[in-house]
Structure formats: structure tokens, C-alpha cells
Symmetry: C2
Subunit: 591 residues, 2 copies
């Protein structure tokens, strides 16, 4: 265990000491590029969360500064992200009317609760809780979220009013409004989507043909959304589209975020606590995964539990500055890394860039069409959808596939929270099911060696008076009874058996329930005149067994190797009439 140190809770004390002009340059360049990328993203994700666009800007200032103090990733770009924005919309619309001041306040409160949870998990080093989210559940959830988000933005592209919390509701709601489609909005939306798709796929090769390096071309093509924003503002101004029914962002209050205590209403807190837990865990898992991938590229490490502290503090900061839940974003972090960010200071510089935008740029965004923001969301989230993962997972593991498809279906059909909870529940149930059915092999000796192998897979010899079993799993309450059943059944089928030897090579733990089962098995065998022996018990398992009385009244012995056990028991039979060996395969018609 590491000792407590202030530096472990304040990583800036570590990287700050070696800060140089070179790192400053890298950080500044990255910050400029990320700022350009983040302005339209923050406005769009706030829209997705059902919040005024300015909330997206607010969530991109103070949280970034605070994460720079507490976070351990050198390149993670914190801020509003798509999936968390969708989850925010789902949670907050349950407790407040969309568009109301209460809705904005509830979103800040959600960030506060989520931040407090992350902080507590981090301070108590409880990050392992995130392990409950299997890759299959996360992958399924992200895919389903991507679909849900894209479909939910269709209304902005069509220029209609629609709602709904799941795929069915959204589709029904939109199809009821198709008569009200605004053609100008649709035109802007379609062109924006088309342009942004082209930017993703076609712009970089084109720029490279003009002689730009792949690196610069890649970064420039990240500015696609800014170009779409600028052009569509000009289009609205030129063709007077705001008067023709094209919804625009409108007035964004200029200035820095207002600092104030979020409104804390206990009934609201109770309504938001469940969604906050899910947002915390999912945001954390996604964020850590990006941070680790980037850190590994430079042979750095991150500390997941300190990341909880960093993200928790960032969310609390977001709550105090009129924002909403934030986490580390994948695309933005990769850009930050590629653009040369060396330390978390890059994030702080990005915060300054967004602050400047909030102060001086908001009047320019007045005529920005909502449809353009919706287009940036749609193009961004469709990259989250990964149906190929379904195929890969099906090939490898039916259980993981079941968890993944269930998460997708429930998320789409019911909603984000139900999807995650069902997926996690199913993963745990399937893990317990697998644990409850351990692989147990009857083993025999490979002739002429000291090795013992499964009688079903190898030509081995066994002694009809000794049954040797190898249990390929730790023994615990989930499988204790299965093992009891298996052993008693095998013994009942073999009247000649007088010794049972359990080869414990693969037993990493024996819990209290399994110990009780071993006692039961021993007593039941003893009633039939059969002794129970153990072989190849691991050190830690043996240490533990010595704390119970089991070994004291064990009817057989404990042997270092299975070979020694068989040799010792064979000596016990010396002089008896029974044949020493027989072919196991021949005597095992079924099992």
C-alpha cells in the first residue's frame, strides 16, 4: 500500500515542477485547436441535454481549470460529451419541465451530485465499482446511445417540435409532425450533415494533395464544424432565414459563468440520485479508458482513483458555475494529444479560450441555426455506433453477446437508465451462472509420467479404488453445491472407490460456503468409508484452511503433488487383490 501524500491527491505538484517553455508551446498550440473544436461542440451538446447553448460554454471553463489541478491524465480533454448529455436530458426531464429555469438548475444539481459521488469514490479508492460495467454493456450502451442521440436530433434537421425518451417514442413523435417540416431548416440541416460527413472522410486526403502534411491536414479537418457554423450563420443573414421559420440560437448572454451555490432541493436530489450514479460511472469508465490509451502511448500512467477525484472536482465546479455534468471526451482528447498537449495546463488554456469566446464571441452566434448544431451532433455520434462489435462478440462469447444485445434493445426501447441497469444485471447473473458451473475433470495418470490429465481428453490410467478430480475454478458459494452434487453422484456410480483426491491446481480461493461444502462432502464420504484427500493446494489457500478446523479432522491427507498422493495411496493398497491399473476411457461409458 502506498502511503498518503498530498502530491498523490494534487498531481499538479508533480508535473508543475518540470514545466518549461517547450511544454508551454505544446500546450498552447493544443489549446487553440481544442478551443476551436469545443465551441460548436459545447453549444451542440448543451442543446442535446435540453439546455440553453450558453450552459455548454459554462461547462467548458471552470471544470477544465479544476481538472488541470486534480486530474492525472496529461492529455484528457474534459467538458460536455454526447452520451452524458443524453443521460442528463433523460434524467432532468423526469424532474423538471424542459425549457424552464428549474430544468437548468436541476442539470447543475445533477452535476453536483455526480461530482460528489465521484469524489467520494475517489477519496475512498472505490474505483473498482466501475468494473461492474463490462465491455459488452458499455459497447452496447454507446451504440444504442449513438442511435438514440442521432434520431433525437432529426427534429432539429426537419424543423419540427417532437419529443420522446426512447426510440419508439421519438419515432412516433416525429412521424406525427411531418406535415410541419420547414424546408429552409431541412436544407441547412441536410447540407450541414453532408458537409460534415465529407469533412470526416474526404477533406483530409484533399488537403494532403495540396501539399499539407497528414498531421496538419488532420488538424485542419477538425475545424469542419466551425466552418459549418460560420457558413450557416452567413446563410441565415444573407437569406433572412430567421424570418422564414429557421430556428436560431438567439441571444447568448455574454460574460463569464455566474458563480453560485446550486439550488439543493431534497426531493430533487432523491429523484436525481440514481441517474447521477449511472452518469458518474459511465462518464468515469469512458474517461479513464481514453486517458489510459493516450497515457500508454507515451509510457505514462494514470491513477484511476485519482481520476475519480479529478472528474468529481470538475463536476462540482461545473455545478457551481451554471454548467452540467462533464467528463473526458474521446475525440477532443485525441485531438489534444495529437496537437501536442504535454500537461493538464493545455486544458487550463482551453478554458481560457472558451472564457474569451463567452466574453466576446456570443453576439456572432446569434444567427447560428439550431439545425447546424444538430448536424454536428449527428455526424459526431454516428461514429459511436459499432454494429461490428455485435458480430465479433457473438463469435467469441454468447454471454457477452446476450449482455450487449440486451443493453442495446432495452436502451432503445425503454431508455438509457433501464438499458444500463438491465445490462449490468444480466452480466452479473451470467457471471454467477458460469461460476456456478465449474469445469470438473476426472483425471488419470499419463503413463510413464508424473502428469495427470482429463480422462476424456487423454489416454490415461486410473485406479478403480481412487477417484481423482480437478476442479478448474475457485470454490465459492455459487458453485459449492454444484461440486457437492457432482462428487456425490460420481461416487454413487463407483462402488469400488475408497479414496477421493481433489487436485487443487486451479483453486485460487475457498470461501466459507465452499469450506462447509467440503466438510459436508467429507462427512458424507466418511459415512461410506471413503477418505477425502487434497493435492497441490496453493499457498494462500492453505494458509486460510489452517485457520479452520477442517484440516484437523480431514479423513485423508494433503499432498504437495498429485503424483505423491497417488503413490502414497497405492502403498496403502499393497497386497490387496484389486488390479492396480485400468484404462479410464474404457470404464467411463458416460459422464
Amino acid at each position: 500500500m502506498k502511503r498518503f501524500s498530498v502530491a498523490s491527491y494534487l498531481p499538479i505538484l508533480d508535473w508543475g515542477r518540470t514545466y518549461s517553455a517547450r511544454t508551454l508551446t505544446g500546450d498552447l498550440v493544443a489549446a487553440v485547436i481544442v478551443t476551436i473544436m469545443l465551441i460548436p461542440q459545447s453549444l451542440a451538446y448543451a442543446l442535446l441535454a435540453g439546455l440553453p447553448p450558453v450552459v455548454g460554454l459554462y461547462a467548458s471553463i471552470l471544470p477544465l481549470l479544476i481538472y488541470a489541478l486534480f486530474g492525472t491524465s496529461r492529455t484528457l480533454a474534459v467538458g460536455p460529451v454526447a452520451v452524458v448529455s443524453l443521460m442528463t436530458a433523460a434524467a432532468v426531464s423526469e424532474v423538471a419541465a424542459p425549457g424552464s429555469a428549474e430544468y437548468v438548475a436541476a442539470a447543475a444539481l445533477l452535476a453536483l451530485i455526480s461530482g460528489a459521488m465521484l469524489l467520494v469514490l475517489g477519496l475512498f479508492r472505490l474505483g473498482f465499482i466501475a468494473n461492474l460495467l463490462s465491455h459488452a454493456v458499455i459497447s452496447g450502451f454507446i451504440t444504442a446511445s449513438g442511435i438514440l442521440i442521432a434520431v433525437s436530433q432529426l427534429k432539429h434537421i426537419l424543423g419540427v417540435s417532437a419529443g420522446g425518451r426512447n426510440l419508439v417514442e421519438i419515432v412516433v413523435s416525429i412521424s406525427g409532425t411531418l406535415g410541419q417540416i420547414n424546408v429552409h431548416t431541412l436544407a441547412i440541416g441536410m447540407v450541414s450533415v453532408g458537409f460534415l460527413f465529407w469533412v470526416r472522410t474526404g477533406l483530409k486526403p484533399l488537403l494532403m494533395k495540396t501539399g499539407l502534411s497528414p498531421f496538419v491536414a488532420g488538424l485542419v479537418s477538425r475545424a469542419g464544424p466551425v466552418i459549418a457554423v460560420a457558413v450557416s450563420i452567413l446563410a441565415v443573414l444573407t437569406f433572412d432565414l430567421a424570418d422564414k421559420g429557421v430556428r436560431i440560437v438567439g441571444e447568448i448572454p455574454a460574460g463569464l459563468p455566474p458563480l453560485h451555490l446550486p439550488m439543493i432541493d431534497m426531493s430533487l436530489v432523491l429523484g436525481l440520485i440514481g441517474p447521477a450514479a449511472l452518469i458518474s460511472v459511465i462518464g468515469f469508465v469512458e474517461s479513464v479508458s481514453v486517458a489510459q490509451t493516450l497515457a500508454a502511448k507515451r509510457r505514462q500512467t494514470i491513477t484511476p482513483n485519482q481520476e475519480l477525484v479529478g472528474l468529481g472536482a470538475a463536476n462540482i465546479a461545473s455545478a457551481f458555475s451554471g454548467g452540467y455534468p462533464v467528463t473526458g471526451g474521446f475525440a477532443r482528447s485525441v485531438v489534444n494529444f495529437d496537437a501536442g498537449a504535454e500537461t493538464p495546463a493545455a486544458g487550463a488554456f482551453t478554458a481560457i479560450g472558451i472564457a474569451l469566446a463567452s466574453l466576446f464571441l456570443t453576439p456572432l452566434l446569434y444567427f447560428l441555426p439550431i439545425a447546424t448544431l444538430a448536424a454536428t451532433i449527428i455526424v459526431a455520434v454516428l461514429s459511436l455506433v459499432d454494429f461490428a462489435a455485435l458480430k465479433r462478440t457473438w463469435a467469441y462469447s454468447r454471454h457477452d453477446f446476450a449482455a450487449m444485445i440486451t443493453t442495446i434493445v432495452v436502451t432503445l426501447a425503454v431508455g438509457v437508465e433501464a438499458g444500463v441497469v438491465t445490462g449490468v444485471g444480466l452480466s452479473i447473473a451470467l457471471l454467477l451462472w458460469r461460476t456456478s458451473r465449474p469445469h470438473i475433470a476426472i483425471v488419470g495418470q499419463v503413463p510413464g509420467t508424473e502428469h495427470f490429465r482429463n480422462v476424456k481428453r487423454h489416454e490415461v490410467v486410473t485406479d478403480p479404488r481412487i477417484l481423482s478430480l480437478r476442479i478448474d475454478e475457485s470454490l465459492n458459494f455459487a458453485n459449492a453445491r454444484t461440486i457437492e452434487d457432482f462428487i456425490l453422484n460420481e461416487i454413487a456410480q463407483r462402488p469400488s472407490v475408497r479414496h477421493l483426491v481433489l487436485q487443487c491446481t486451479a483453486v485460487n480461493e475457498i470461501d466459507g460456503s465452499a469450506l462447509e461444502s467440503l466438510e459436508l462432502i467429507m462427512h458424507r464420504l466418511s459415512d461410506q468409508g471413503i477418505a477425502l484427500h487434497l493435492s497441490e493446494v496453493k499457498g494462500p489457500v492453505m494458509d486460510r484452511l489452517k485457520r479452520a478446523s477442517f484440516l484437523e479432522h480431514l479423513t485423508g491427507g494433503v499432498y504437495l503433488t498429485h503424483y505423491q498422493a497417488m503413490a502414497a495411496l497405492a502403498v496403502g493398497f499393497a497386497g490387496e487383490a484389486c488390479p492396480p491399473d485400468r484404462s479410464a476411457r474404457a470404464s467411463e461409458p458416460h459422464s
Copy 2:
């Protein structure tokens, strides 16, 4: 897998073929003794369940006949038992007023639902669900139930009216009524309790001194409750105690149980479905445990999934004949076994005995004091209380102890259902926690051998360019990220490492999440110029890995033994300047 056969669902076809005069004698003797024991028990447990005494008799007739057809245990004595009666009271008093006709109907409905659940679990071979109840939870639950039951019967000993669903409520309720104690009732109750305790401990030695064999003395002392019943009836008659406020059983309708469809009310069904599930699982687990213990003594086996069918059918029969939930009772089954029962026919004969008692004996029970029945319950259930298990469990496993004490405390403080659910939830959470923190050893070569051992426990040699890890656990979603973190941290601390070899001796499974993690680890290592190798991968794990693309782009190799891996990698370094060996211990200041 076994093929479907009618006989596997109707075990009577098996044992019925070999039925003889000898087995008949054994079964008849056992049936007579069990009947004598069961008459007072069935009345008392019905009382505990809040039901009229006659319901206990009804629950001891048809269910026993039906279990004899479908059950696989040759000696299990099915009928009303203490813990299930307590759970019935807890469940039914939530949906109907105690003492009402609806209460009796709801108890029968509970048996129907529970029976249907058991039947479905049995037909679909889903008995493994019972594995979720760890020994620690069951042991804690039984202890707490024993305490709750004993305390709940105090009111009958004191002759007061009181209620309550948990220890606190019961104690508060009783203490508010201490002014109304009926001294005659108290006298009968105290004498009965004292007598029954003496019968348990002192009668058998006394009988043996008179020359009876231990076996006969043991069986005769089982008749203690019948003696208490007879004597207390005589006392009530002699001293006119019924007129002095001593509550008596009163009129029990004579006759066989009425056969009718239980009233099925959907809102009642919904209210009872949760408790029915718990009653089913707990009744099943207890019953199977007794049945297996007894079967093993005669080298017989039982089939847990068919036991579900047998118990399910018995409960459905109970519902159709005015009974309530039943299961296999521990004490009764042991007596049945000891008295010489050879086949389930003994249960059928017991049913006939109870039917005769229902027809002809009930007038005799009119003056039976409730206090005597309460005394038989108290003395019976206190043997369930096992505080020594707490101490044993503490010594062996803190996790099991936590599950056990939590189950006890919540059962006593809140109620039986909350106790079981909390205990099971905690057991699963702790199992996941252990799974999420696998033991990972850095291994080195034992000099002069082909063996590799933990560098912390043994004097071994390692190569600074190769990191060898042995993960002592199957790889799954619960520990995938822990392993990622561990590996990346160890690599970050060892700049000289160029190869990572995972020794997979103890890896029994790699699930989809863990495979993704291995891919991630491989890519992150690859970014740092480090190759990932596997050694000693088990056959089934390897078969599965071949279904994914992981092995195709594995940056290193897969080796049959760890020694082969190290030898092959050392060849790759041939001619390089780095020293071939160094002491691992010296180079591992911490970790």
C-alpha cells in the same frame, strides 16, 4: 446430457419395482413414529403461520402423498416446518387480516405460487438458482429466524395478545401487554417448556439406564411433545383452565381436507410473488441439504432438479387441499431415517396416519392449550440458533462473516424477506469484489529448474527485459480493468522491459471484456515497443481464443510452457549487451 425419460420425472417407477415386505415393514414403523411426532408439530406450525391448527393437519396429508410420487429422496419427511411457517406469516399478514378467511385463502395461494415456481424451476432444470444463497446467509437466516420465532411465541406462553414482524416490534408489543399476563397460561407454558427441554437432554439417558437401547430411547424421547400435549389437555380439563382465561385450540373440524381450487386474485398474486420466491428457494435449499445428507449415509443420491418437481407438486397439492407452504423438515426426516424408512412410501403412510388423526382425533384436541403448542415451537426452534457459526466464520472468512451478521441483523431488525435479500445482495457484491481483485504474481525462474514462482515468495532469477506475470484468476469483466491497470503500471516502472509474458496456468476462462482488455493491453504495449506473449494457456481457453482475431495479430507468441517462452525470448536477445540474469528480490523495492 441425459435423455428425457418418464422415470426421471416419476421416481416412484424406479423404487416401486423393487418394493418388498421388508421395505414395507421399515416404512410402516417409520410412518407410525413420524405421525406421532407430526401431529403436535403440524398444529403448532400452523399456529406460528397465523393459521387455524387444522390447516397444519391438511398440509400434512396430500402434500406427503404427492411428494412420494415425485420426490427423489427416500427418507425426506415433507410437511409444515418452522422457518417456512414464519415466512408464511410475514408474507400473508401483508395482504390479509390475521384470523380472517382471506388470510387462510392467501396462505393456500402462497403455496400454489411457490409450488408453481418450484415446478417451473425443476422442469427447466434451473435448480442452480439456489446456489445464490451462500451457507453464510442461510446459516445467519436460520439463526435469526429461530430467535424471531421463539420471541414471537412468548405471547402465547404469557397469555397476552401481541404482534410485530421483527424483533423490535415484537418486544415493544409484548412489553406493552405485560399487565395482562394470565398466570394459568404462564404456568402451563413454563412447565411445558421445562419438560420439553428436559426431554431433549435428560430423557434419553434416563431411558437408557432403564435398559432400553440407545436407538429405542432416542425414538421414545421424540414423543415428548405428544406427552406434553396429552398432559396439558388433562390439566385444562381437571382444573377448568379454559374458564380461567387459558386459550385453547377449540373445535377443529373433523374430516379430510376439502379439495378445491385456491382463490386466485391477481392483486394478491402480485403481492405474494416476491415472498413466494424466497420461500421456494429457502425451503428448497434446506430440504435438499437434509435429503442429500441422509442419502449419502446409504450411498444413495438425490436429483436436486427433480426435488424441485417433487416439492413443487407437494406445494400445489397443499394449495388444493386447504394447506399452506410445505417443505422437507430436518428433525422429522432424521427421525424417519433412523426409524427405518426405506422408500417414499413411508411418507405416504404418514399421510394416512395424519388423515386418520384428522378424522378421529380432533375432538380430543379441543382442550389443548395454545401455550403448550407455543412451548413445542420454542424448544424446537432454539436448536436452530447457532451463534458458534459466527465465531467459526469470523475465523475463516471476513466476507462470509459480514454476509452472515448482516443477514442476522437485518432479519431481526427489519424482517425475514429483507434479511435474505440483503444477505444475498451482499454475498454477490463481495464475490464480485474478490473477483475484481485477482492475485497477480510477478514470477521468476527457480534457478536450475523449469519452474517459475512468485518473486516475493521465492529466490528466483528474472531478466530485466522480460516481465513474467501469473494471474491467479479467470479473466472476466469484473477484473479486466484491474489487470489492465496492474500491467500498465508495472510496465511504466520498468523502462527496460521489451517482452511481457502472461502465464495462464490459473486462467480457466477469458470472457469478452477480458479479451478486449487483452487487446487494449497489447496495443498499449505495442505503442511502447513491447511484445505480449502467452504461456500455458488451457485447452478450452485456447479453443475459444481461436474464434477471435486476437491471436492473429498477437505481437508475441503462445508457448506451451513458460520455460519454453523464456528460452525462446532469451534466444532473441543473443548477442545483446544486457546482463542475462539478476536477482529479482534485489530489484523489487516495492510493489
